[in-house]
């Protein structure tokens, strides 16, 4: 036919990321997509929504996704067994132990003999740090309290009905609790600082395979830049949050504000991770979590934190 449309510019190469459908990462990813930050940085973002964190790991291990959100302790564990995974910081948000607004507890010691709910299981990093902190202050948290492990949303709901003396959960659940009048008894950041650790090390991040980073360095760099740019928008622009509101599923304004504040507080400062600080952190984790947590890694393996330049 004689008339042809303009030749469509081919989409740039994709980056596939597996995330929880309503996870907090989506806020950043949605901002990237909405603002075209992916195309602007030379890649096409493909978000694969999944129903559980396990699903994301399967997708990643099975080669269905290039990026996964997890913590760097796990990356270190996997690296120690020979898996070539690297970590790109995403958030330093951590929780703490929260109690109901009307709870008489003022310090960890007041939780003695009460039930503490821990969403992440016995190897939850917040829980491990809190244990170390308590121990340093003369209390064996593990033996002097009763721990209840369970699915995060279930524990969240049960906390609301006052079933626990305290709860350790992921930060966005805790933000919602805070909106309901709960208060932080001890924050993990304070505990870490008390233990001489650097609380600014982002625990959560984007995990990628080493091969992928090496072979598609441009794309990864673009992704890092897009992430950075999205965070900047979210840090400064309240209207961007209004747009995200439907996918945040905040039950009310208070929760919305707490979630917004929590996310902002968790934005990393952009500095490269200090390897010594990380090593110290890892050693403590190895000590507390044991082989079950860190596997065969006794010290932090090299190369966990990816250097994408310009981060």
């Amino acid at each position: 036919s004689p008339i042809r449309g303009p030749i469509q510019a081919a989409d740039p190469d994709p980056i596939r990321i597996a995330v929880l459908k309503f996870g907090t990462v989506n806020w950043e990813l949605d901002t990237i997509l909405h603002n075209g930050l992916d195309k602007a940085n030379g890649f096409t973002l493909e978000v694969k929504p999944l129903a559980g964190s396990a699903a994301a790991k399967i997708a990643f291990e099975g080669g269905e996704a290039d990026i996964l959100v997890s913590d760097w302790i796990w990356v270190a564990r996997r690296r120690a067994t020979g898996a070539d995974l690297v970590f790109l910081p995403y958030s330093k948000s951590v929780g703490g132990v929260m109690v109901a607004g009307n709870s008489p507890a003022q310090t960890l010691a007041d939780l003695k003999h009460s039930k503490i709910a821990i969403a992440g299981g016995p190897l939850d990093k917040s829980w491990l740090i809190l244990q170390a902190y308590a121990l340093k202050n003369g209390m064996d948290l593990k033996t002097s309290t009763e721990q209840v492990f369970g699915a995060p949303p279930l524990l969240h709901q049960k906390a609301l009905t006052g079933e626990f003396g305290g709860i350790v959960n992921f930060w966005h659940y805790l933000a919602r609790l805070e909106a309901k009048g709960f208060r932080t008894l001890v924050s993990v950041n304070d505990a870490a600082r008390d233990l001489g650790l650097d609380p600014d090390i982002p625990l959560l991040g984007y995990v990628m395979k080493g091969d992928f980073v090496r072979e598609h360095a441009d794309r990864v760099r673009g992704f890092a830049a897009a992430s950075r740019a999205a965070k900047k928008i979210l840090e400064e622009d309240d209207t961007a949050w209004e747009r995200l509101r439907p996918i945040m599923k905040a039950e009310d304004d208070a929760a919305f504000e707490k979630l917004k504040a929590g996310f902002r507080a968790g934005i990393p400062d952009g500095q490269a991770v200090d390897p010594d600080a990380a090593a110290r952190f890892f050693n403590l984790m190895a000590q507390l979590g044991g082989e079950q947590l860190v596997g065969t890694a006794t010290t932090l393996p090299d190369g966990v934190f990816v250097d994408v330049g310009g981060w």
């Binding site: 459908k21 999944l50 129903a51 699903a55 399967i58 997708a59 269905e64 949303p153 279930l154």
Partner: protein
Amino acid sequence: MSKPNNQGGASGFSRISPAALLFPFLFIGVWYVAAGLAGNETTFPSPVTVGKIILAEARSGALFIHVGATLARVAAAFVIAMAVGCAIGLWMGRNRGINRWGDPWLVFFLNMPALVTIVLCYIWIGLTEAAAITAVAINKIPMVAVMMREGARTLDPGLNDMARVFRMTPAARLAHVVIPQLAPHFASAGRAGIALIWKIVLVVELLGASTGVGFQIHTYFQLFDVGAVLAYALSFIIVMLVVEYLILQPWERHASRWRNAG
């Protein structure tokens, strides 16, 4: 020989019982009252709330996409699992040698956690529909096999002899001697089977799909949106009730009419 009252001759299909037709009203009534007594919409939403969610999801089309996706997976896995499971079960039930060697494998796969099979299938086959359906079928086949094996063991040897003497063809034996005797086992394997499959499909969808009732249920569970979880669970149960009353029960009545007539 017991001969309860009934019409002579073989009568055809009959209708859905009024009890079954009343069930939805009864059920919603009970639920409504219970929810009212509980008085907590978050943990025990009323049927009105859930009904609204179902309507909203239906209007947006999401409901049909997810229920459809799950149904397709359930149907595919069901057909595969029943076919393979019946074949294995009958074979093992009729052949002692095969049974002796196959039995530990059957027990092994029967007790293999769904989670493990699913993860391994996803990792080895990839995050595809084929992997999902394979995983479900692997989970379900041993169960069908176990049930059909028990059925095969109870086959009437007298009728078997009769079929041999009269040289009935294998197909005729299957259709007229074996299957009618296995019908009750088949019905319970089928019914328990669909239920189990759909439970496993939920796990499959939790672990590696981006559509389906399981995906939705787990996603809403993360948000602790009990209403939406119930909305999806219920939608699927409604589909299963329809299958039960429009397909399974008429078939069963047809297959067992000799029992009630005799």
